[in-house]
């Protein structure tokens, strides 16, 4: 059975941009372990001739025609942003990557 280490939790927290304390790392590792163990029981029911399923509805090819519909007014779009400038969303300096 899979198990989740403290390092796994730290890695996931970093990818999710979540600040997690040392104490939380231990606690979440234990809890996530239990969650995974519970979900793993599905694996016992899975047999070779049942393909993995990602959707609960038996639908495919749900498509829309290529037609333009109205967009939101820009003021409304930017109203919820913490900061805006020149009609654009303003974000803090982007670090750690070259663009």
């Amino acid at each position: 059975m899979s198990s989740i280490s403290r390092d796994d939790v730290a890695h996931l927290a970093r990818l999710s941009r979540l600040a997690v304390t040392d104490e939380e790392l231990d606690r979440f590792a234990g809890q996530l372990d239990q969650v995974l163990a519970a979900v793993a029981r599905v694996g016992e029911a899975a047999v070779a001739d049942v393909p993995p399923m990602s959707h609960a509805v038996p639908l495919t090819n749900v498509l829309r025609a290529d037609e333009v519909t109205p967009s939101l007014p820009r003021d409304a779009v930017l109203a919820g942003a913490p900061a805006a400038e020149d009609g654009r969303f303003r974000v803090p300096r982007i670090l750690g990557e070259d663009a």
Binding site: R64, T69, F89, D98
Partner: protein, 503 residues
Amino acid sequence: MTLTAGDRLVDYDEVLTRYEPVIGLETHVELGTASKMFCGCATTFGAEPNTHTCPVCLGMPGSLPVANAAAVEATIQIGLALGCRIANWSRFARKNYFYPDIPKGFQTSQYDEPLCIAGHLDVEVDGETYRVEIERVHLEEDTGKNLHVGGATGRIHGADHSLIDFNRAGIPLVEIVTRPVPGAGAKAPEVARAYVTELREIVQTLGASDVRMEQGSLRCDVNISLNPIGALELGTRTETKNVNSLRSVERAVRFEMRRQAAVLDEGGRIVQETRHFHEDTGTTSSGRSKEEATDYRYFPEPDLVPLAPDADWIEQLRAALPELPAARRARLQQEWGISGTEMTWLANAGALGLVEQTVTAGATPGDARKWWLGDLARRANEAGTELAELPITPAQVAELSGLIAEGTINDKLARQVLDGVLAGQGDPAQVVAAQGLAVMGESDELVAAVEAAIAGAPDVVAKVQSGKVQALGALVGAVMKTTRGKADAGTVKRMLEERVLSS
């Protein structure tokens, strides 16, 4: 950022004595649909920032995407044109990462179940055919655009903050990924360029995108690695981004080959990383390193049901494919009776369609080629523009060619007529009439010019009469000069012979 000034480079020819280059290309094509991939926002280029957004493409909680049928069909058609197998079961997946230009915290893309797999594209370089294997063609969405403020020239480094425009976020994007292409040797840079050129032409022919590299509707990432000759394993590759013109594709491959060879020669190792191409210097510089394993945690997109194109749908799309560029070139080459090399020149000059239309308008294939690859190519070059942008139509070129064929004008006058047409003075026949550019018949004026030439050069006449017939050329020249090129040289020669040799 690593400065590029210090990069040691090995001479290109020397690289090839020790290493075998392997290239790979990832090309993104922004589809030319009217609306976005998963919502109805317009895709028009150049709109005011953030005026083409809605809850879906802004990633608002509770909004639900629905896939654009035209984008799915265009992707399948691109796959078919590249000889791919179309998957009968394909899913979208979330590619999770944080970056300000993706509003949802993930990009809706495809992972292990792309729409099209295992195709190929044959490209020709210097008369030799190279097969580029296509690994996959998948459908995803574009990101927003960042504008960096406060730094030098909009670069991210030293910027104070960034501004985001989400108009582009959610525009359908098709990614076409090749398998590694070995065996191109010294031609690797040209093969890379030829591949992108041909791919661009195919997508354009399909009408799937306007494929304008300068506007970013076709973008290319170039992977390059070097294998020591005789080695069995692939070398470590770098991925060069930001390659925004066909010429840059070629330059980026060439530069990376020379840079990597220098690193390997010194016993160093190539870092698997993203590099950025600099148009101004033709160099690449180090971007983010990929060695600390990017972890995108892909999983099937729960908000979009799978795509399962059935055979009927696929066959319908296949039947609707237009004649593809390679087939068209083969057909025209045969119809016009020209060599493969001449065909490549025409294609590279962007003259294929123009010549074809000129022939349709009545010119012979030879004349049509002569005008477009000769005078008009030179003028386009001088004006720093493309052939297709010249203010002259294929029909006008055909008319010009017809005026020469029927003897109304000669080649020299034709060039003056061309000037008139390009200056917006109308069709060739109108320019001829307006400027009196038609060839002179055996008029009184021409007779006078011929007789004046004879009277003015008794020594030449004596020479001709003593048997040196080629001296007649000087007299023809004199007549052409007096008539300012409007006489027909053949007629002038005959008139001179009649007068000088029969006396």
